[in-house]
């Protein structure tokens, strides 16, 4: 993969493509961290900034699309180069979705009332941490073309799912006991749902990273391996 191509411009295109993807990843990662932070601290300014910043991700996604299509059209990539480009196309879409979920979490920050007394809020940071860790890891795996790390990310999705179930149960019982806070708790349910989806998307990216690096899709048995 790291061998240079005869056509230097091709090399440059691929490098730029990878650069764009990681830049998108960095934006999405920062948006997610910021959204979780804003949620915990009730920082509406930060939340607004994240919503505004999401536009950059959209522009970058367009740029990735254009570049990937250009590479396919002009250079007719083969084998691992083709995998690289296809994976980049798919990953760009997924990373953009992750950014959207972060944006969605930020939008809900202002809708949670009486946050100082609202204890279910303490359930979410730990869950958000696992998801943020997954996103961070999967981007590192992409940068390093590391299939082993990608597998770990896939394995970590179980943790997010377990968290989601536990948070869901907790929130529902909280709603039953405190009907007055149902609207805020419902917002948190959506936040938890968003985080859970982010975990799933990180898993998707991990699968693409694995695919780009090895040419096959990870089998579940591989994933079980510690």
């Amino acid at each position: 993969m790291n061998a240079e191509h005869t056509v230097k411009a091709f090399d440059e295109d691929i490098t730029r493509l990878r650069g764009l993807i990681t830049e998108m990843g960095g934006l999405a990662e920062t948006a997610l961290e910021g959204a979780l932070d804003a949620l915990i601290r009730g920082d509406e300014k930060l939340a607004e900034k994240i919503v505004a910043d999401d536009r950059k991700l959209d522009t970058l996604e367009l740029e990735v699309d254009r570049l990937a299509v250009k590479i396919i059209a002009l250079r007719a990539p083969m084998a691992d180069d083709l995998r690289e480009v296809v994976a980049a196309l798919k990953i760009a879409g997924v990373v953009e979705r992750i950014g959207d979920y972060a944006k969605n979490i930020s939008k809900r920050v202002g809708r949670i009332e009486g946050r100082n007394r609202f204890e279910p809020l303490t359930l979410l940071p730990a869950m958000g941490d696992v998801a943020a860790e997954m996103v961070h890891d999967v981007l590192t795996a992409y940068a390093a073309r590391d299939p082993a790390l990608a597998c770990e990310v896939i394995a970590a999705d179980k943790k997010v799912d377990a968290f989601y179930n536990s948070v869901f149960r907790n929130l529902v019982s909280h709603m039953v006991e405190n009907p007055a806070t149902i609207s805020s708790a419902a917002q948190l349910l959506f936040v938890a749902r968003n985080i859970e989806r982010i975990g799933d998307h990180a898993t998707n990216v991990a699968e693409m990273v694995y695919f780009a690096a090895t040419g096959s899709y990870p089998i579940d048995d591989d994933v079980e391996e510690s």
Binding site: K56, E119, E152
Partner: protein
């Protein structure tokens, strides 16, 4: 400085021939001689001395090899960037960011938006980024533009500084509650004993004294655990360098952790010889804590298996497995938090401080390893510690997964104490 100053031959020849010419033209010999002398003197003075020094440096000290060596061995990570492509990374940078960054787009190495924005601008600049390698680390990214297309990027770690403030608030929040509880019972029982000595019969007094003793001992354990926790945390960012043979250490500290009464329940198996870079005291404590936990929470009389083996990725793996009640999945992510208890009553009865796993987590982090806890209700709990072997890099360039799921260092942000204890009870 032995090289003699080269004589300016052409100048000397011109000076001498001019002197002869002057003599032919009718100048007196002393005049011509004086002019010749002055000429030679100016030649001598104008001889550039620094050119000699430069030549000397060129040959020995400033050789390309030495310059490369200087950059390569510099402690701070340095990247040389041509437009947007990393063309060179020194050893420290490759260690930090991974070997793959060379030849890649600089955004592959540093993807944080504010750093990317800074690098898209021309000229010098700097940015503070979080999560460069591990999720919570903080780095200062500095860019020196060498010319229009080449620049040097230097990375400076700021993690330690940003950690300190958080650690303080964390500690005050968590520890005061834990310290106060045993103190309250000690003071209460002691007051009762001293204020109404007549009303209390021998048996009750005995009971009170036992409680005082137990609570005092608990306080003592707590303080010593807090001490070791803060010690580990203080050294968190300097990775230990000593090579330690792991097999012998695990064997010994597993036995120590069990103590003479329970030693026969511990079974240690070795699959291979392992050497890790580490702090032997801390690694011993890690194994002791894990074995002690396993014995405490395993059903009475059941064996505890300690296994040392190699992972698929070539790291050393220490597995401690008990046969106990297991831990419900909702508790798993929180286990490494300070003072988190799945069952507060039982943990206190058995003398637990709630810090054992937090200490383990910090030790693992300091050794750049990973900690995973798996558990099945009714079957038992398995704790897996993976450590990079000596001579290899990291387990992987990210922080432990188990850490992320229950990171004690984050508990400051999410005001966990009240909430957690409730979930736990």
């Amino acid at each position: 400085m032995e090289t003699p100053r080269a004589l300016p031959w052409p100048g000397l020849i011109i000076a001498t021939s001019s002197a002869f010419l002057l003599m032919f033209a009718g100048f007196a010999l002393p005049y011509a001689l004086a002019i010749w002398l002055v000429w030679c003197l100016t030649l001598w003075i104008s001889q550039p001395a620094d050119r000699v020094v430069e030549a000397e440096l060129d040959e020995d000290a400033m050789s390309r090899q030495n310059l490369t060596g200087m950059i390569e061995n510099a402690q701070s990570p340095l990247l040389l960037v041509d437009r947007t492509r990393v063309v060179m990374a020194n050893a420290s940078a490759r260690n930090l960011l991974g070997e793959h960054v060379v030849g890649q787009d600089v955004r592959v190495a540093i993807r944080q938006p504010n750093a990317v924005a800074m690098m898209n601008r021309e000229g010098n600049g700097e940015a503070i980024v979080t999560g460069l390698v591990r999720r919570r680390d903080v780095w200062r990214v500095i860019r020196y533009a060498l010319d229009r297309k080449t620049s040097v990027i230097e990375l400076i770690s700021k993690t330690a500084e940003s950690d300190v403030s958080r650690a303080h608030t964390d500690f005050v929040a968590n520890a005061s509650h834990e310290l106060r509880t045993p103190l309250a019972s000690i003071i209460g029982y002691a007051e009762t004993l001293s204020e109404h000595p007549a009303d209390i019969d021998e048996k009750t007094a005995r009971k009170f004294l036992d409680t005082i003793q137990r609570e005092a001992r608990r306080l003592q354990n707590l303080v010593s655990d807090l001490m070791s926790l803060s010690r580990v945390e203080a050294e968190k960012h300097d990775r230990p360098e000593t090579a330690i043979p792991l097999n012998e250490l695990v064997e010994r500290s597993a036995r120590e952790g069990a103590g003479p009464d329970r030693a026969d329940r511990v079974h240690v198996t070795h699959n291979g010889e392992f050497t890790v870079r580490g702090d032997s005291q801390q690694l011993e404590q890690l194994v002791r804590n894990l074995v002690d936990n396993a014995l405490k929470y395993g059903r009475p009389g059941t064996p505890v298996h300690v296994e040392l083996s190699e992972t698929a990725m070539g790291e050393a793996k220490v597995v401690v497995k008990d046969q106990g009640e297991g831990i419900a999945p909702e508790h798993l992510p929180h286990l490494t938090r300070r003072f988190y208890r799945t069952d507060p009553g039982r943990s206190r009865m058995s003398g637990g401080t709630g810090l054992g796993l937090a200490i383990v987590k910090h030790i693992v982090e300091r050794h750049h390893g990973r900690l995973d806890i798996e558990s099945e209700l009714g079957e038992g709990t398995t704790v897996i510690v993976r450590l990079p072997r000596d001579g290899t890099g990291e387990v992987s360039p990210v922080s432990p997964l188990a850490t992320a799921t229950g990171d004690a260092s984050q508990s400051g942000q999410d005001r966990p104490n009240e909430g957690d204890n409730r979930t736990a009870s």
